[in-house]
């Protein structure tokens, strides 16, 4: 194992030992405080183009599991950890975290003082970073000159429609970088799923006559997406039950006139109390967000706030006053994360049933 370096845009450097791929990469560096679910996190498309620092002291000890993929091909730019374990649970071949990252050409660094790095990042917020062999001036110049893409959704979302057929309700998922957890939850409800690209037209969706629509999770800044997406949402929300998740929630808010604000320091973890405002119940869920809906900009005639993060006060859920449409900032698919958040899907399917019943009675 060879020594490599992490350089941040502000000039800070960290040393560590290399694992995974020996590639040199650039990305936006963020930190994650979840203690479990490293495989789900590094395969989650929302982290496309980012380097993730893990607070949990050891990663890799649970192996790489067939049922813990959130996408088949991870596209993070780097994984920075304190200690690395080399456990494999694969029945066919040795597949530990190190080999997994090698296979996907993702560099990793371990034996890094991740606590120091996280304490630093919580002050600076996310920034550009690179993993290199030599921490010289050239590497710093390269980093400063690099422009990171804001086309993550385009990179991650499906360009072609596909189906996940079953015999239950017909749910259309608009894909902005969908994670498997959402499909898994829909599978639990035996939903007949059509996944459509975000460039789909209103006509194409309505021709399919869905019982419900999900605006999927996805990476990056939703404001980088074309206006047509917001139009699509505005039309569909008035016709079919809709659930927006993560980026889908942010788009739902934008479509209804609210604005986003970047969080001072991105929040990625599963330990913040989230309160359902109507019942005052507190629960926990996986969260991963660089933006939050700016509450001051919410049009109270259209939307109301349903969930709130009790630590930073950030809006965690919205509901439309006139339509059966709602959204959550957190990830209710529990992959990884607490199961209690999955009640959001129960709410959604209840809305879907109401909608179906309404038409059946007519």
């Amino acid at each position: 194992m060879m020594q490599r370096h992490l350089i941040l845009e502000d000039g800070t450097t960290f040393q560590g030992m290399s694992f995974g791929s020996p590639a040199t990469t650039f990305g936006e560096i963020i930190f994650h405080t979840a203690m479990t679910g490293y495989q789900e996190i590094i395969t989650d498309p929302i982290y496309d183009g980012q380097m993730i620092v893990f607070a949990t002291p050891i990663v890799g000890a649970a192996g790489i599991h067939a049922e813990a993929y959130e996408s088949v091909k991870p596209t993070i730019r780097g994984m920075i950890v304190n200690d690395l374990a080399e456990v494999s649970v694969n029945r066919q071949r040795r597949m530990n975290l190190d080999r997994f990252l090698k296979q996907h050409n993702i560099p990793g660094l371990y034996q890094v003082d991740t606590r120091q790095l996280i304490r630093h990042l919580r002050e600076t917020g996310p920034q550009k970073a690179t993993i290199v062999d030599y921490a010289d001036e050239h590497a710093v110049d390269q980093l400063v000159a690099t422009v990171l893409t804001n086309k993550q959704v385009q990179n991650m979302a499906t360009p072609k429609p596909y189906a996940n057929p079953a015999r239950g309700r017909h749910i259309v998922v608009i894909d902005f970088g969908l994670k498997h957890g959402i499909l898994r939850m829909l599978g639990d409800y035996d939903a007949n799923v059509s996944v459509l690209p975000y460039t789909t037209s209103v006509d194409e969706v309505l021709t399919l006559d869905p019982d419900g629509i999900i605006l999927s999770t996805g990476p990056g800044d939703p404001r980088a997406l074309p206006e047509s997406v917001l139009t699509l949402i505005r039309v569909l929300q008035s016709k079919v039950p809709m659930l927006g998740i993560g980026l889908g929630h942010e788009l739902f808010a934008l479509a209804n006139g609210a604005e986003l604000m970047p969080l001072p320091s991105e929040h990625h973890g599963m330990n913040h109390p989230i309160q359902e405002i109507i019942s005052r119940q507190i629960f926990y869920a996986m969260q991963g967000q660089g933006y939050a809906v700016d509450e001051k900009t919410i049009d109270r005639k259209k939307l109301f706030v349903t969930y709130r993060d009790l630590v930073d006060g950030a809006v965690q859920g919205l509901r439309h006053r006139d339509f059966p449409a709602f959204s959550v900032q957190f990830f209710p698919d529990a992959a990884p994360g607490p199961l209690e958040a999955t009640t959001v899907f129960a709410d959604f399917f209840e809305t879907v049933e109401d909608y179906v019943e309404h038409y059946n009675q007519q």
């Binding site: 003082d113 606590r115 996280i118």
Partner: protein
Amino acid sequence: MSNTITNNKIKKVLFIGAGANDFGREGEHDAAIFQVMPELRGHGIEIFIIDDNPYALSLESLAATVFWQQLTVDNLKKVVRENNIDTVAPLFGGESSLRLWAEVVQSWAHGDGTVPSTLGLSIDMLLKVNNIPALTAMMADIGLPVINNYVLKAQDEANELLRELHLPLMVRALHPNQTNTRQIVERLDDFEDAINLAKTQSVTQEVIISRAINGLKEVSIEILRDVRGNKMQIGASEDMDPIGIHTADSLSVSPILTIQDQLIGRMRDYAFRIADMLQLKGVMHVQFAVDDDTHTIYVIKVSPYIDQMATRMSLATGYPTMLVAINLAIGVPLEEIVLPHDFGKHVAMMEPMMDHVVVKLPVFPFGELEAAGVHVNRQLNSVQKSVGSTLGLGRTFIEALEKAIRSAHFNNASFSPTNMKHINDDELIQQLIHPQDNRVLLLIEAIKRGYEIDELAELTAIDEFYFYQLKYLHQLESEIEANIDNIDALRLGKKYGLSDGLIARFWHTDFNIIRTLAKENGINVTYKSVEPSAGEFPENARQYYATYESENESVQISDNTVLVIGSGAFRMGDAAAGGYATTVVMSELRRLQYPTIIMNNNPSDATLLPHLADKQYLEPLEVSDVMKVVELEKPKVIVIPGNRRKLINALRDLNQNVVILPKTKHIPGGPNENQSEFALNIFYDGQQAYPINLTQHMAGEMRVIPQVAHIPDTIVSTNFEAPGVYQVIYYQSIVHWVDRMDLSNMGYDSWIRPMPFGQVAYLSKAMQTQWLRLTIRAAMDDLTSRDIELLQTINERPIVYPYSMIAADINYRLHLQPHEVIDGTRFEMGVGVKDYG
């Protein structure tokens, strides 16, 4: 209405202490009660506490009205009645208090008045929690995966059941009287014995039999629930050792490392559903058996009360479990809990995250017992054999493990890589299948001999992660051994927690040389704080551990600090009262307004409670660990138990100002069956010796002799090393209690020793005179004129409580199966009191 705090009807709360220390009861309950009583008083509630344990700190608390009495149904009822108690808090005293309170409730007669309510649990649920089959059935009803129980009534034949069930089986008592042992029966021949033992432990002679699930992983989840039904997870650990070895005897690791998120999520969900089922207001520990190949999970134990897991998790994460628990119990919703200002704003509601590894290592009494000629059964099974535990904190598993091992006072020789060479392959395999206390060494030896990891994982039912870790440790040690004076090897060794002493052994030199070498090459210790946000937020941490990374977070807090060195794990013998002694010393130093720093690694005693010190180091207590803290904190004074000679000398060599808490190096034995041990007790304030009283000690019991004591001329100041309580000991062949003892009988064979801490605790309570506080005041030159006045007349004052101290009834046969008799004084675990009127 759900947001109204329901504590308006709570006016008088009685805490039930845990009683004498025993296997699995090492002071954590007393520490919890001691911590929560002032908090509850802050809510305007009047507090009462009953306990019989002379080592109980809560009996010295100023926050409560104290009843130092035997824990019996009658005494409890009397205290409740005479003080108009409206609410009883048994959950903080743990399983034994809960059982006692359930007994009181069940025997509550019509004329006894209204049954006080139980803090945190309804009476109905309290009784269910005490009845395993009823609890299991309730859980099965709501769809939780439990293991079916078969109840064998007193007159039933067990053979019928054997036809239905397959070995191995678990056997335990229904309606246990005190102890309830989980026995695993693997051979048909052992079945009858197990049933018979369980019957003796049951009030109704009924026995529960269920399928044993040996070999699965054992996982603990700690959660809490508030009055509104909000629930959160506040800790989790996995045992390295599989089910079949008692969890207290297992090496436990936090956070959970080898189990995937989905399975942990399911366990969390089950624990939440159990808390809802019980309508619990408070904290709960749920134990699970997990098969991560088949994704099968069983709920195996539900403990909706404070236990060792609760206190350990609080230390491991920095989450203020006890303060939150008492608020929940009186009905304050999670969202409205106000913590002392030095905790972060949202700490109570945020699930604690960890960026370090915590290893809990059990401490077994085998070595000390064998040195005294007592042979015991060392094989680990479902009956607890460990008497204490230590915590090791580090950034890696290896570092945490190494530190836990050093904290347990293994000397380097017994953890030496060459230690296991003599064992042959057959024995090795036998011990892998039937592990003993030294299994970590054994696993390393097996790796060294080239056994494949999957083969070992199969044999031992230990996750392969641990073998990879131990293999790496072995490689690391070999590399260091092969590269003497190599700085890179030293750097790596320090990073993974190898001590200066261990590296010195590999390099055939002294630990001071290693320390200097590391320093010269910029390999410096860094202290990281233990705080529940894992770095996400700035927290005012008080708790630190050492590691070797780049950023150090600990800075000197003052140039006027007192550093107190704790006494480590709970052990048999006088160390049982060590935690008590350290805590009282800390409390007195705080009262005298010295900024205090504590170093310790015992998760169970009260020394690491959040507010007893300005700063805590969860560290091993070897000379090199202490030196590093001393270099950083530059304490004005260092308080050390007197048995730590090497440490005392090392610090004095560096011109440190050391205060010794007088304590003998060797555990004192007690009188045999045919004699009495008499003691003339003396307080020495650094200048002058004051007579206290005389005590008589027969095997298993000790009393104060009602007589004015005087110090003979033969005793001079030079007999005493430092301020403290001492005793002149002599033996006589007397086997009855005496009212007078003529000091001239004191023969030439008498000798002086520091009074054992256990006796100090007892005398402090019986006399209502705080001897340890006086000791520390004398040592710090803070005695007042009132103190002197008291000391001058103390020998003439009668004792306040005419109680004798009695050895607790510890079931050594069950736990240790000793071949010889165990000296209950020398190897004491717990004590109680008895009124001799």
